[in-house]
Symmetry: C2
Subunit: 333 residues, 2 copies
DNA sequence: CTGAAAGCGCTTACAG
DNA sequence: CTGAAAGCGCTTACAG
């Protein structure tokens, strides 16, 4: 069943069916209703390949999400979709692998779907650097800062990862901890991890510590990787009294590792997480964490892209503040 | 940049470029290499709208995943993709909302992408009942039993939810518990929840209990809904000694609720989960659970669909057994 | 092994 | 307000 069949059934031309389908203004409401009735009766769904192939400009905003099991992204993505819905634009959501090149994917989808804008939820600055150039529609990078990238159509919304890392370490020092361990992401490849680590260093320096002696273990952003990293870290440094993990998931793995080593959290070792996902509130103990303002990130991402699409607003780069969210995994020393 | 530009650059016709692109056999390897070189040099990516529109049959298997924050599905989906990769077919993954109609989505995608087969990860029998008829390629429903559905091209792989529910309750009775509470999914709308609950009833009957008095609270498959359900359940039945939650996520919410009410798990109340997701192993206490054989589900789903695609195998309906996975959230009374 | 031509199912000026 | 015709970027018989 194609638009042609519908046209025949309705006794009109395909052009008219197309008009009805796309809410074109100049069509008699009578005709329009009849066509819609026939479409409904036949459960007709237009072929989006043909539509996209021909259409010079679509009406939807692309949402590219990197990593489909990232709980922090799920929350933001949901919020972004709700907010876009309210603007009247359609949303087209695509999940990419953690390792995928989001810029290459964006170029392809851009040509195929002709979106009016793209929001990247998560993204690697290097990938964008390499391939973003071909994209001409307004875009927003959520969760990383694109200020240094030379693209006039790319805004960004992110937290200040340097300040956030510094805040985390400062907080643990303020609680009286001196022997602090860090479970970090891969500092070589992950931009936020790198910045947070730099912030941690800054805090250590200001507290009179030797930066080269920071107790630190690298981990991927998963439960079992963090579990192993924490185990190794504590085995080598049994006098540690606090650990900062760069995500709540890592913090959860860390707490389980500590528990398995006979250490009580927080009495023996305090644990501080990062992100502020819902899950951290259901752990035992509840995880104290540096919370990202996910609502604000979603809100601003949508606002920026709409401003660019509708009012030709210039690209801008917003950095948001994190906040400390208390929990049961931390105590004074 | 289109196939036409590539043709011009290579000094051949578009037909020849298309042949190179699709690994067609009758093309001089020299020509083929030249075309591929030019494609690579120009970062050319063919437009899949045009490809899908024209192509009479694609080469990929569609994987439709219902619910994008379902941790149990993530694991299976990953496995399915790996296994399909090995067969040489391509995979096209699509995430659907929990509330979306997967059958309608499948009909649309079927027409647009012309897949050789479809795997449904999660799905509602009613939706399939209503709209699956239009689909003609081999399909597998993973995670629910399609035996009663009248479709010759639809296989299914699922656990025996009735037996699983019975096993869960039996297990708690065997541990000496008499006052057992149930945190269930919505029995009206969720097929597995309904079957598991029927199994629980069977177990209660066999243990001489009055089935109408089963202590039972409905919940959605989320942390906070389970938290509330467990709180209500315990408030009304403070003498309860064990709770069976129909998912590990629900079990986690339940444990947190119990803890907040001053009950120790498992000393005061034992908690049994369901699914066997990785997360349950990182909770404190580790959650004892009825584990679904996710590897087997993935394995069989792919094997069944390949058999149907390549050897015209008839549809079959496999039911797998669950297994008990021990944890720290359960003890004898 | 290669090319010219038709056509997939839509949208979009253009004409009326 | 409506229709006829061109064309989006590919694939696929058909012919050579």
């Amino acid at each position: 069943m194609t638009i042609k069949d519908i046209a025949k059934l309705a006794g009109v031309s395909v052009s008219t069916v197309s008009r009805a389908l796309n809410g074109h203004p100049d069509i008699k409401s009578e005709t329009k209703e009849k066509i819609h009735r026939i479409i409904a009766e036949n459960n007709f769904i237009p072929n989006s390949n043909a539509k996209n192939l021909k259409q010079t400009a679509g009406k939807s905003i692309l949402l590219l999400i990197k990593g489909n099991s990232n709980m922090f992204f799920s929350v933001i993505s949901e919020q972004i979709q709700k907010r876009i819905d309210k603007t009247g634009f359609a949303v087209s959501v695509h999940y990419l692998d953690e390792q995928a090149d989001e810029a290459v994917a964006a170029v392809r989808l851009s040509r195929e779907q002709k979106p009016v804008g793209i929001i990247f939820l998560g993204g690697n600055l290097k990938n964008l650097q390499n391939s973003f150039g071909e994209i001409t529609v307004p875009c927003v990078l959520s969760t990383a800062n694109a200020k240094e990238l030379p693209f006039a159509n790319l805004s960004s919304v992110s937290i200040n990862d340097f300040e956030a890392g510094k805040k985390a370490a400062d907080f643990l020092f303020d609680m009286g901890h001196e022997k602090i361990g860090i479970i970090s992401g891969d500092i070589e490849t992950s931009n936020p991890s790198q910045l947070r680590y730099a912030g941690i260093k800054e805090s250590f320096m200001r507290h009179g510590k030797n930066v080269n002696e920071i107790i630190h273990e690298k981990s991927s952003y998963t439960l079992n990787s963090a579990y192993e990293a924490a185990t190794a870290l504590v085995q080598r440094n049994s006098d540690i009294t606090a650990i900062f993990a760069m995500s709540d998931i890592m913090a959860m793995g860390t707490i389980r590792a500590l528990t398995d080593m006979g250490k009580h959290v927080p009495e023996d070792v305090s644990v501080l997480g990062f992100d502020g996902i819902e899950l951290s509130d259901y752990c035992c103990p509840r995880i104290a964490t540096i919370a990202q303002p996910s609502q604000q990130i979603a809100d601003l991402s949508v606002r920026l892209i709409i401003d660019m699409i509708e009012h030709n607003a210039l690209a801008s780069h917003v950095q948001l503040k994190v906040s400390y969210k208390s929990g049961e995994s931390i105590c004074h020393i």
